[in-house]
Symmetry: C4
């Protein structure tokens, strides 16, 4: 097993507008989660904003020895994540996971990408 039970992302942002075929070229933000253990993990995601209380938890299940790449765009319960709005995220699991944060920005004709491992907690 590898990873940590808590991870944080500070620069969340879903760009407004896209060029190119859906869904792969839609502007989006993603948290990719890897669970290398045999057992499933239950993951809770909390979204932090600049000027309102956090939203969540968003419940995500990741099977044993599986990865799940979750688009912030697709979160719906308890509420969707607004576009063109700065946010941050904390990911908490009941077992060790590894989290990476990626953004695809296709607001202009040619897409741009960024990615970073999230910051692991203690």
């Amino acid at each position: 097993m590898i990873g940590a039970k808590r991870w944080a992302i500070a620069d969340g942002y879903i760009p407004e507008g896209s060029h190119g075929p859906e869904p792969e070229m839609d502007s989006h933000g993603t948290v990719s989660i890897l669970n290398t253990a045999d057992e499933d993990v239950d993951v809770e995601l909390t979204i932090y904003y600049a000027d309102r209380d956090p939203a969540g938890p968003y419940e995500i299940a990741v099977g044993g020895e599986r990865t799940k790449h979750v688009r912030f765009n697709d979160l719906e319960e308890p509420e969707s994540v607004p576009r063109a709005t700065p946010f941050a995220a904390v990911i908490e699991a009941d077992g060790p996971i590894v989290c990476q944060h990626t953004r695809l920005d296709s607001r202009q004709a040619e897409n741009a990408l960024l990615s970073t491992m999230a910051h692991p907690g203690d």
Copy 2:
């Protein structure tokens, strides 16, 4: 709570020139700060240069359970950050925070992005 009280960014740079609508497509550098604690944090940012003494501190307040995405372009007190000039930054807070560094470069017609979690101090 998650994070550290000190963070560093080594590759700061605000590209000179932009394509696309303001302000979202302006070339810019950002430090995104997440404060997961209940209490506000006071953050001090120091900018390091290649050939002159550091500038700062820049004072930034981040509310409890809030994120703030700060563009280096917008810093004014005690002085603005010059464009097209290599710099670095240290971020210090009176409570644990998480910091991520992002750049959008729209000097050419289609923007490019980079991002990395900052380096946490002890």
Copy 3:
């Protein structure tokens, strides 16, 4: 010597389709491995998927004081890595190594890049 014996990447993905000359502008994902020790290291790579059991191990040898930049596109034994499919990876070695994950996406006319150091294990 610098590094760790276990590393993880959560956001693996080989984009489908490319623009530009082969092989340098082919859409690809890479794990770059650095071995600073005098001795060779034997590396085992395991690929995790969203909805099936992991694949591997993929065996990679990296000489002493050498680096090897391995494209996921080129892995063949025990099986190739499918395109346009989310995956994750764990890299394990019998000595300390340093791992970085990079993607070049040339699905659109102008390529995009992302990169991050992988997450080191204990």
Copy 4:
């Protein structure tokens, strides 16, 4: 002070060919170094290759409370770094520094960027 005395980058690469005005849009790789201490630091950079012995050390001095953004393209002593050739790098200093690795790729008409903090040693 913040940082470590040893850092590693696994995915070094200077793309061959460029579009746009020199020197800012030249395809390049950079290691950005921050020295937050009062005293100067002496930095030694070693370049690792896939199929030959390492090159270096490259000697770099970084003043107290200064940053230096060094392009791999500009290294000359003891030898230059070849283009379109995978490499890796280890950075060692006699005091704590912070290192970040960035690439600008302008082989195609619109540039792409990647960046990551380097991996700190013990």
